[in-house]
């Protein structure tokens, strides 16, 4: 009897863990990302890199003139050195959010691309991991490009700063998983705007431009609950070479975000497509 190749491939996965949700097709989804990327809007792609550099130029060298050094703990550092890690963390967040909210919303509701994908032998976890994986690749390249600009300028004092790149990927993973989970529950384009209402104040208050110690205690406490604060503290700690146990705590925050985000995304995609 003739067995089509697609069937043989699917049969080979019988008995594997989570076989109803996952078929090991993340590489294929990344391949789609590359094919679509070749003809994408380059302005949007570039803006993800240019944005943190512009912030660095305007704030780092503008405010840096008025405020040559800033005190962190008992160390005085240049203002640009203080904000560069925060901008790296923020750009990792922004890239991940863009890919996992706007892009996902359109594919889900407008183009119905996921409907097509899930009519194949793939499962919802393939789609979730593939989309998030693509967001991470992008986050990784932005982080590398940003480092290539700021490191030669002497803005990364410690060699530990190299670890800021994998840290940026971890941060992007956390935001992308949660972003996709939230987006999968959104009904309209207007609801997506709510995400931005949350993101901008977080960017302004999470200690990007000045230490949190300037805030009254209650506000410090609140800001310390936010993911971006942990992202900035993690990346800044690495870039300045302030290595301590606290960094693991920040990293753990993102591991929890990743697990929760993936859980709800898969659950929701399953409910949407396997109802």
């Amino acid at each position: 009897m003739f067995i089509p190749m697609a069937v043989a491939i699917a049969e080979a996965r019988v008995g594997k863990r989570g076989e109803r949700y996952y078929s090991g097709r993340v590489p294929q989804l990344l391949e789609r990302g590359f094919i679509a990327f070749k003809s994408s809007t380059w302005m949007i792609v570039l803006s993800g890199f240019v944005e943190p550099v512009l912030y660095l130029l305007s704030f780092g060298y503008g405010i840096g003139k008025l405020l040559p050094t800033i005190t962190v703990g008992n160390e005085s550092i240049k203002y640009a050195v203080f904000i560069a890690p925060a901008l790296l963390a923020t750009s990792a967040m922004n890239g991940a959010i863009y890919d996992s909210t706007m892009n996902v919303f359109f594919k889900l509701n407008h183009d119905r691309i996921y409907h097509g994908m899930l009519a194949t032998s793939m499962g919802p976890l393939d789609v979730a991991l593939g989309e998030i994986g693509w967001a991470l690749l992008r986050g990784f390249s932005y982080a590398c490009a940003f480092m290539a600009v700021v490191a030669p300028l002497g803005l990364i004092p410690s060699l530990w700063g190299l670890l800021a790149i994998p840290a940026a990927v971890l941060i992007a993973f956390g935001f992308a998983s949660c972003g996709m989970a939230v987006t999968s529950y959104m009904k309209s384009f207007q609801q997506l705007e709510i995400i931005n209402v949350f993101l901008l104040p977080m960017f302004l208050f999470s200690g990007s431009f000045y230490p949190l110690t300037v805030f009254p205690e209650w506000l410090q406490f609140t800001v310390n609950l936010l993911p971006l604060t942990h992202a900035i503290n993690l990346v800044r700690g690495l870039c300045l070479g302030h290595i301590n146990v606290g960094l693991f705590g920040h990293a753990l925050y993102f591991v929890i975000m990743i697990v929760c985000g993936l859980f709800f995304t898969t659950k929701r995609l399953n409910a949407l497509f396997m109802k």
Binding site: R25, I113, S121, G123, K275
Partner: protein, 308 residues
Amino acid sequence: MSEYLISARGLTKKFGDFTAVNGIDFDVSKGESFGLLGPNGAGKSTVMRMIGATSQRNAGDLTILGKDPELNGPQIRAHLGVVPQQDSLDMHLSVSENLYIYGRYFGLPRKFVKGKIEELLTFAQLEEKRDAKVEALSGGMKRRLTIARALVSEPEILMLDEPTTGLDPQARHILWDRLFRLKEQGVTLVITTHFMDEAEQLCDRLIVMDKGSIMAEGSPASLIKDYSTKEVLEVRFGSDRNQEVADKLRAMCERIEELPDRVLMYTEDGEALLEKIYASGLHPKTSLVRRSSLEDVFLRLTGRTLIE
């Protein structure tokens, strides 16, 4: 393993309090072209999604190639080519890229898929559009591309949900021709439609569905034979007079159906009936004798027309 590719017993699907599919039984044999005919909301698409392992049943049994879609979703979907009612093509990719990546989603090797692309572009008559963006295609071309895409994994069963809805007559005929070819190659077709001409053209056997239940089952010809007469005479007396004359007309033939704009009269000989009407002193504004169709079967079974 059963002799049927698809087998349903007491298949039921509920959405909250609403019963979309109400305990239906049917079987589909290998190489058959099987149709689900019914108006919008009859439950056809829900049945398709349950077969396609993207919707879970609430009760009953469903077996596809000997497997239960609830337990073996990915394995069953590997056997199926799905052409959904709403296009789900990848707008960010070109025509050939759409075919390529869809093959990859099934886990197929690059070389295999690249070989398939040429064959499928020829089949879908889209060779000249290979590098075009999907958005630039006409409705008929998008449909053909969706069918070609569904064939990339060499499925044994092709599922077509309302394949020609929204297409102009020429595009429909091109599409039907392509589907005939697949049927000749031995691909099993499962088709939903609310067009009776489509069902008559494409289906060897069909079930007539209404409100989640099966009203009748058989080949198009046998359904017409069982539930209708050989010919139908359509007469129009003008909207306000149709009802007045209905009682007189009823006495002249086997059965009549009063529609808002016309009266349908069921008979073995339409011309003879028309003469009888004139002889009785009635003068319809227009009249038409035609052969019975599945539309008449549906009207007989449900008292309603297919397209409302």
